[in-house]
Symmetry: C2
Subunit: 166 residues, 2 copies
DNA sequence: TTAAACTTTCAAAATATTTTGAAAGTTAGA
DNA sequence: TCTAACTTTCAAAATATTTTGAAAGTTTAA
């Protein structure tokens, strides 16, 4: 496999997968592009490489910075902003886990917590309490784990992962 | 909080969150409805409750069965099919983990495995190999864990979760 | 200040996804 | 077999999301 082909496949595949897990295609493609690039890239570089508009590039670079997956870099003698991706895979995974925990899991825990307090003695109410209490217990645990992972050092996480597999 | 209010909130919230993680709103709403329902519901019940078309209801019930989150039930003296949701929270989480591992993580592992074999000695090629090898190592581990979880008994998983938190 | 160089915004357009519903397909029992 | 009861399909319509690009906003250096 040649370099250009590999690069394209990475950008395409990463982009497609991202849409399946609720992140937009362009954001993931920019991430892939920056992950592969040995040097920092400017907004114009990104626009050029991915053939996208300035607004789109800007918006999604900001989102990546928001997720702490990409950082701004200042190049001396240049007024442009340049961007680099965090390349350590565990740091990337940690930040994705943290963001998703915050956006997706926390609200679920809050919801189950609230719903499990519904009153009434009918079959419907009892069923609702039973199901939501059970879900609450599990989502809390998942939430705790994701929080821990999100805040942990890569080395701690690596050990934990290995201990789970073996 | 009253029952109807709680039920609506669950259906709405579950539906909204689902769209963030790549599952369609209706599929999640049907799942929520079935989770709360003490009895099995028919396609017509689902259409009625959620005010959706027959095609939509049918399609998403099939998807839920495909994910092994919902089962068909036959009620004697009735030709209709009825449906119930799996209600044990760990079984639900296990099945979701399994499906997502299969659909989302496995292809990533395969991609990194392929890309890390790219040849060439330039800076770009070296960077690509370095990044993809690192990502491969991590995604393989995540893939292994999700596979284990997906295949495990709820009790095994519960123990593992607790050991991670403490 | 000023103006060039750059970044951000956002309404409209393009694209992608989901939903509808009628028609086609299937099945069970008379 | 036939037909009523039910399920599935799928092209078109509706809806939601993403992208564009020009205009507005900001910053830097002279």
């Amino acid at each position: 496999m040649q370099y250009e082909e590999a690069k394209d496949e990475f950008i395409q595949t990463w982009g497609n997968l991202a849409t399946q897990w609720g992140i937009n295609r362009t954001m993931a493609q920019i991430h892939a592009l920056l992950l592969l690039s040995p040097e920092a890239l400017s907004t114009d570089d990104v626009m050029e490489e991915l053939q996208i508009s300035r607004g789109n590039a800007n918006m999604n670079i900001r989102a990546l910075i928001d997720w702490a997956l990409v950082q701004k870099v200042y190049v001396k003698g240049d007024r442009k902003e340049f961007f680099i991706a965090i390349k350590d895979s565990f740091t990337v995974a940690r930040r994705i886990a943290k963001e998703r925990q915050r956006r997706e899991v926390s609200p679920v825990v809050a919801m189950f917590d609230e719903l499990s307090k519904v009153e009434g003695s009918g079959a419907k109410e009892q069923e609702l309490r039973k199901v939501t209490l059970d879900m609450l217990q599990m989502t809390k645990q998942i939430n705790d784990i994701l929080s821990k992972f999100g805040d942990s050092e890569p080395s701690w996480w690596k050990k934990k992962l290995i201990s789970l597999i073996s």
